[in-house]
Symmetry: C2
Subunit: 368 residues, 2 copies
């Protein structure tokens, strides 16, 4: 079991990572001073797989547990779902000393976290991410929120959890495509921050793809360490935290352009990274050999859904709406070498279009 500390002053917390950590949940909650009343939020599928066992274990430990089901899928990540949860919490007389435990993927964590952030101006919150993407990314860092009909994640708050429990055994039940999607974010951590970790990733890719327990814990731990280091310096994305958005300016634009259908978040980020590599090259920041090496590694993770039919104009429109824009500029995270980034605000849109086209062609070719 690995323990990664997120240092944020009086909002510091631990991420506990290992195989079977959920079995130790009662002791972990006690050690981290989590109170007796627990509201366990989960989607019906994850509740069935892991939530009900956890509920039983916590009850046997003498806690009072009530579960709340959050309907599955991005389309339920709305203020309406949040409002239903408030009503349920009031009816159950939850107070600000009750703890909300979110068990599931990104949607459950984001919605549950937003409810925890805003119910009675904030209640303690524990994350139990069960997808790879949530384990290495969304459960760490305190971003919570829901979608607005006009923009994704538009409504939200920063609310750091009191504890994150990652049980790598939950990955066994994760569908192949979702697991692969998480691996693109794993690769991202190496690319933006840690060349050695990128080598580890490339060297162990077959074992990683086969979900070999021996590599899962060190892999996820390193991702969490990197994310923890970044957000400890820049909790609210004023500066350094932007590097975590490598591939995300175009990735988010792609997701918006296809209206979040047919491409997962991880796949969209993969496209965004492929294009950003070429953009870095076009701007003279990165050498050709590195572009080729990294692109090949990303394409080795698995095949990407076709994106050739999407006109670049739809992506550039979507970028205009991105909430990370400042004074009308989209910023791009570029690579100068493996493990090192540069943030650029004024990138020529023609270069971006060109980089995008090559990335699309490259993904297409690799898939054939």
């Amino acid at each position: 079991v690995s323990d990664v500390r997120v240092e944020l002053g009086d909002r510091s917390y631990d991420i506990v990572i290992g195989a079977g950590t959920l079995d130790e949940a009662p002791a972990l909650l006690t050690r981290h001073q989590v109170g007796r009343r627990i509201f366990l939020a989960s989607d019906p599928c994850v509740y069935e797989l892991y939530g009900s066992d956890l509920e039983e274990r916590l009850c046997r430990d003498g806690r009072e547990v009530v579960h709340l089901l959050i309907p599955e899928g991005e389309k339920h990540k709305t203020l309406e779902t949040v409002e239903n949860l408030y009503t349920y919490l009031v009816a159950q007389r939850a107070d600000r000393h009750s703890t909300l435990v979110a068990v599931g993927g990104g949607v459950t964590g984001d919605v549950g976290g937003f409810v925890a952030a805003t119910y009675q101006r904030g209640m303690p919150f524990v994350q139990v991410p069960t997808t790879l993407l949530a384990q290495v990314d969304s459960s760490v860092g305190g971003k919570t929120g829901v979608n607005h009909k006009l923009a994704k994640n538009l409504i939200g708050a920063f609310h750091q959890p009191a504890l994150v429990i990652v049980d790598t055994q939950t990955l066994a039940s994760l569908p192949e495509r979702q697991y692969q999607s998480g691996l693109y974010e794993v690769a991202k951590y190496g690319l933006i921050y840690d060349a050695d970790f990128f080598r580890f990733f490339v060297d162990n890719l077959q074992a990683i793809i086969q979900r070999d327990p021996a590599v899962l814990e060190p892999m996820i731990s390193r991702c969490c360490e990197i994310k923890a280091a970044v957000i400890s310096i820049d909790e609210r994305e004023q500066g350094l935290r932007q590097i975590l958005n490598f591939g995300h300016t175009l990735g988010h634009a792609l997701e918006a352009a296809v209206e979040y259908a047919g491409v997962t978040h991880g796949e969209a980020i993969a496209y965004g990274m492929l294009a950003s590599l070429r953009l870095s090259r076009a701007m003279g920041l990165l050498d050709e050999a590195t572009v080729d090496e990294v692109s090949a590694a990303l394409l080795d993770i698995g095949s990407l859904p076709a994106a050739a039919g999407i006109p670049f104009g739809r992506l550039s429109d979507a970028m205009e709406h991105d909430k990370k824009r400042r004074d009308g500029h989209s910023h791009f995270v570029l690579l100068t070498e493996i493990g090192a980034t540069l943030i650029q605000d004024d990138v020529d849109l023609a270069l971006v279009a060109e980089a995008w086209q090559s990335a699309v062609v490259q993904a297409e070719t690799a898939t054939r």
Copy 2:
């Protein structure tokens, strides 16, 4: 002009208090690093009185200002109003570097603050409170939120403003009853924290009631200083901040029992304080002379609406739903002398009922 600093590390901010400070708003915003794009939120009445002038002044100073109207009154302090504001902000392409400036009373500040706390996970926020209650209480301390159909202020977030501008001249247009209601909270600061300030309040009560400009600035400044001192120590109401709830356990219960109709927040708090004084006496914490002296001072502020028709049982029911309860206990802030408090969790409900009845009779007698 007085400047009160709220010390909260990297969330510290200034409260600027004086007659005519709104005329200096452009310079104040510049000095406090507020950006160029401003969303000015106000209710239609306050916008007419002060908002449109401020908007014009900021535009003349070269800022881009868009105003949003928030419908007046507690019944619009809902998630629905918040959602409408999100939609408007998206349509106007507000980003997380735009600033939301709330001009008005408590509802405008609470709703505007919650939108600022949650739009794109937080945008900068400036408070321009125009009621006495907002100037001495709700605009300072970062509490924001809206009501849920089952409970007041149930949904909310802590979001500290970047600046608070108090223009005492705006009090000239405040209806008598609203002004009086604010004075009960002013008296509270003396009672819980500063015996000298309570003397100042009693000695100058006639000038205060007549809104003499010479007393308004020092009076409001001292309230803000006390609130600032308390929240600097306990931003999130884990401990000390609870003393600000003197009179509020019963006050909130009264408001809930009458469904927020017929009694203002300040008047409810006045009743709560009268009862808490008698409860403090009944528990042997406070001497009779002080109870009489303080009660007389509170009743001198003005007459209170009758509360004799409300059975105590409805108040005790409401207390059960209070979000400040912990493990099923309502806590009471009691007085040990003028300027000193004691927080008690396990108060005998029979004593509370008795103290309540005497307070009601006393208010009734004073009004006749």
